[in-house]
Subunit: 205 residues, 2 copies
DNA sequence: GTCTATAATCAGATAGAC
DNA sequence: GTCTATCTGATTATAGAC
């Protein structure tokens, strides 16, 4: 069978995309599981089933690899935002966003970064795609936060930036994995618990 | 001047203790600052002002070094508990404990561990002093949690273990450093903010 | 016990054949 | 583009003089 050059290119491109998707999934899982520093490229290559050197044909450094995973996560967040009902209350949107993040985290599909400094930070800050995505996501969440404070559903005395950080922090909350490790609760229960302590606090009312 | 053997031994012992205290302080700061993986023994040695090889005369591995810092942190926590007024309400004790931890963290004097797995975990679990300290601290906090739930100041529907984890997690909460990095708030304000979001939640009441 | 010098290991990155 | 084999640098850990 004779293929046109265009079809051949398209096929190869698709193969490439599929492989890169496989790499991203492996990186996501490893990043969620052990963090950037502990993740080795040998592991990534082994999990994808390719040689380590081949990774460098797709991404030119370990930092680049992780940055790509983060860019992907930002895109997925924005897709999720787009799927929310347009008429929903801002507080419900915030809760939905945090819930979505924690579900992905528990499923090992959220490449949460280490809170502490690493060589990644510099790479990420220099990465236009990531920064654009981060800013868009932050703007979206920030708008909901201000709306929720304006309509009285969120505490007005808290600085919006502190609320934003608190929500972001749920993506790397160790309470999630500790409870998961304990084995006493289902993932769904864990998400409900942490969501409740985050928004409602520990104190009785 | 002639010294008795006893005095000489005591002096040397004291010198040793002083040096080990200096090492612990350096480890504390580095552990709080960049975490276990990113901390190198070269840095520790440089900060203490001794040769790297000398560290191994005091602690036989990097894990051991960090474990010693954690044991020390547990002891200090217990000392702090002992300094609390005996008649205080359990909820006040919990708040005081979390506040104390966050203040140390912001001052760079709390060797918070990475939430994620590392070679440290195995070493710590095998370390009797650490585990004993951890259990004692957890028992103390756990008792306060149950008392606070019994007297209605803490939400009864939350599993005590989830509350305990949530309190522990404040020791490595990235919100602290993010707000500190922003430079808009004093350390005291940051502690108040995070304490408030932890116990009172984000929602308006 | 402290030092200088060095071994041993591991992980990120590259060379070059195919 | 993918592979095997290798380089390079960083870091933990140790040897041996003093």
């Amino acid at each position: 069978m004779i293929k046109s050059p265009a079809a051949k290119t398209s096929f190869k491109t698709q193969m490439l995309k599929t492989r890169e998707e496989a790499i991203m999934q492996a990186v996501n899982r490893l990043l969620a599981d052990k963090g950037f520093d502990a993740m080795t490229l040998d592991e990534v290559a082994a999990q994808v089933g390719i040689a380590k050197a081949s990774l460098y044909k797709h991404y030119c450094s370990k930092e680049d690899l992780a940055a790509a995973a983060m860019v992907r996560a930002m895109r997925r967040a924005q897709d999720f935002f787009g799927s929310l009902p347009p008429a929903a209350a801002p507080l419900d949107n915030l809760r939905a966003a945090v819930r979505w993040t924690m579900q992905l985290k528990l499923a090992g599909d959220m490449p949460s970064l280490p809170s502490q400094n690493s060589s990644l930070r510099a790479t990420l800050i220099a990465n236009r795609d990531y920064m654009d995505g981060l800013i868009e996501v932050s703007d979206r969440l920030g708008a909901w936060i201000e709306e929720a404070q304006a309509n009285g559903s969120l505490r007005r005395e808290l600085p919006a930036i502190a609320v934003l950080y608190t929500l972001y922090a749920r993506a790397c909350d160790p309470v999630l994995e500790f409870l998961q490790m304990g084995g006493q609760h289902s993932d769904e229960e864990i998400v409900d618990l942490v969501l409740s302590t985050c928004f409602d606090g520990l104190n009785a009312r």
